[in-house]
């Protein structure tokens, strides 16, 4: 998928994360601020990269402010932001690119 416009998903509440995506410069530009950076920074990065790969996104600026969200939450917020950025609100590929 190609990012069309900037989009945001998620909140800054505890146990949530806020994901912002923008069109990229030809690669994945990943930034992360997390309250659990030391323990889960690498894990969060891995989940985000996997999610982007599933959605076939390879050209994006993605920045995440994490407040201790679990992997499932992070994944859902990344998916939310990406689909918002391409304006797709219906006919989401449940079980396809959006893997459980």
């Amino acid at each position: 998928m190609e990012i069309m416009k900037p989009a945001i998903a998620g909140t800054l509440e505890s146990s949530d994360c806020q994901v912002t995506v923008e069109p990229g410069d030809g690669e994945i530009d990943f930034t992360l601020k997390s309250s659990v950076m030391n323990q889960y920074g690498n894990q969060i990065r891995r989940v985000v990269m996997e999610t982007l790969e599933n959605l076939e996104v390879s050209n994006v600026k993605i920045s995440i402010v994490d407040k201790g969200a679990l992997d499932c939450t992070i994944k859902a917020r990344v998916e939310g932001a990406i689909f918002r950025s391409v304006g797709q609100m219906e006919h989401l590929p449940w079980g396809g690119a959006i893997k459980p």
Binding site: V36, N38, Q39, Y40, G41
Partner: protein, 519 residues
């Protein structure tokens, strides 16, 4: 050298501090030592008043100079003005290389960071630190070592002479012109002055700072005039709203209530729950809720508590009002109900030494049946961490945690299994503050683990309907939800030590380094 809780203590730290590694709770039982003493400047004349004009004048009269150790207490908690007022003056005078020896430091003391950075303060000894001071220490800004010691440990360090207090400052809610201090009355009523008593006995110079000068004699004095050199009157010694808050509303958080209920069920099924038992809790929501639910069962079964110790809050003082306890022994008051209760004749003020010091002829923690505590982390060896956050930054205080845990017959730690995403039950705590041998039971929202060294407790819970699990099972549940946490990336420099209550080294705290992704 590896200590009794499996922590590697660097040789250079042992050399620098002259300390031993932690050998186990009772290593110093029967130890003999001679107490240190304070210089005393006699007052024989009858000119009548010790009141002087300012903190500056007090510092000059006490002979303030580079390298001195200054003592402070933390009964005013986040409302304290004393430490900042004194240190601002010390800073103005250009004094350097001060060691602060406080019973605790908190967010109220963020302004000290400036003095840490410019070398006014080079050593900090405290129960713990929070806020910006913690960040400064963890980032290596303090020139010397931070020493985190328990409330009992501070008294031990002073009485043995390991620390010598040059000048101690006592924030006194009321004081007369001859130095009789009381924790009661005035604008900054904190109830008791327990942590300062050792300062009164062992500091060379003692300065009482008050915002409420009362006529002589301010009796019964909590700190006697016989120990006070000077009295300074200022406009405000603290912010009353942050000293003693209104009683916290009993929690309505179902998770905390469930853990409180587990705790109460556990307590009543132990052999220690019988007429005349003794009890202490921390001030967390679940601990307070368990006091409330325990009081109901006490009433139903006609069981009285002989004594309660605190760190006191309203639910403990309610036991006194409702005649369910014979006596409260008090070192600190957390809310207005507790401050008010100090007037009750069955509510006794005790010193921090009486409360918790391992180096006297017996402290009251040794007579405790139950203590209910919280923790930031507990590991599969039951070691607890209450000082260093899971991000590696110093952010808490030992308080009486290691003292009461060591003393009580049944030490219960309550914690939600996950604090946000961070597993509270883990393979290895970031830093050990309280050794696993002191911890008997861990209660979480996902189950209860009894320390295998307490086969007697495991035996008496055999037929009790509670969700018992092993500590490893609890950890595995936590990791299955949150993922397995990676270890904090520390630098090499040791910035602080966690001192065992007996003065040995329980663990070291290293400087943090910025996180880097591994690939």
């Amino acid at each position: 050298m590896i200590n009794a809780v499996g922590r590697e203590i660097p040789e250079d730290i042992l050399e620098m501090t002259g300390k031993e590694v932690f050998h186990g709770n009772n290593y110093f039982d029967g130890h003999v030592f001679q107490k240190a003493g304070a210089y005393t400047k006699c007052v024989i004349n009858s000119h009548g008043s010790k009141v002087i004009g300012s903190i500056h004048e007090a510092l000059v009269k006490c002979g303030i100079k580079d390298g001195m150790t200054l003592g402070f207490h933390h009964h005013f908690r986040d409302g304290d003005y004393i430490v900042n007022m004194v240190m601002e003056e010390v800073h103005k005078m250009g004094i350097k290389d001060i060691t602060i020896c406080a019973s605790s430091l908190g967010k109220a003391h963020d302004p000290l960071v400036e003095y840490i950075e410019d070398g006014t303060i080079t050593n900090i000894q405290s129960s713990g630190v929070r806020g910006k001071i913690g960040e400064a220490i963890s980032n290596g800004k303090l020139k010397g070592l931070a020493i985190m010691r328990s409330h009992g440990g501070r008294v031990r360090a002073i009485e043995t002479g390991e620390v010598h207090l040059d000048i101690s400052f006592i924030g006194a809610p009321t004081c007369d012109d001859y130095g009789n201090c009381r924790g009661i009355g005035g604008k900054s009523n904190c109830g008791v002055l327990s942590y300062s008593m050792v300062d009164g006995d062992y500091a060379d110079h003692v300065v009482a700072i008050t915002d409420c000068l009362v006529p002589f004699p301010n009796f019964p004095a909590h700190i006697s005039m016989t120990k006070v050199d000077y009295v300074v009157v200022v406009d405000e010694i603290g912010d009353p709203e942050k000293i003693a808050t209104g009683a916290a509303k009993p929690t309505t958080d179902m998770r905390k209530l469930m853990m409180a209920d587990y705790c109460t069920q556990f307590v009543v099924n132990t052999p220690y729950f019988k007429d005349g038992f003794s009890y202490q809790t921390g001030v967390g929501g679940a601990s307070i809720a368990s006091t409330i639910s325990l009081s109901k069962i006490m009433k139903e079964r006609g069981i009285r508590m002989r004594f309660g110790i605190g760190g006191l809050t309203k639910p403990m003082c309610d036991l006194l009002i409702n005649d369910q306890v014979d006596a409260l022994l008090d070192t600190q008051d957390f809310d207005l109900a507790a401050v008010e209760s100090v007037k009750d004749l069955r509510h006794f003020r005790i010193s921090a030494g009486q409360y918790a010091s391992p180096f006297n002829k017996g402290a009251v923690v040794n007579k405790l049946d139950f203590v209910i505590l919280a923790t930031l982390e507990v590991d599969v060896n039951f070691n607890c961490n209450v000082v260093v956050g899971s991000d590696g930054v110093i952010t808490g205080a030992q308080g009486g945690h290691p003292d009461t845990a060591a003393g009580a017959k049944c030490t219960i730690v309550i914690t939600p299994l996950l604090q946000g995403r961070t597993p509270a039950v883990c393979t290895e705590v970031t830093t050990v503050t309280t050794p696993g041998e002191s911890i008997d039971v861990v209660i979480t929202d996902y189950g209860i683990a009894i320390n295998p060294i307490r086969q007697d407790l495991i035996e008496c819970m055999k037929d009790v309907d509670l969700p018992f699990k092993t500590i490893e099972e609890l950890r595995d549940i936590a990791y299955s939800i949150a993922g397995k946490p990676q270890k904090v990336q520390f630098g090499d420099r040791v910035v602080g030590i966690i001192e065992g209550r007996d003065g040995t080294i329980m663990d070291v705290v290293r400087q943090i380094k910025p996180f880097e992704f591994s690939e």
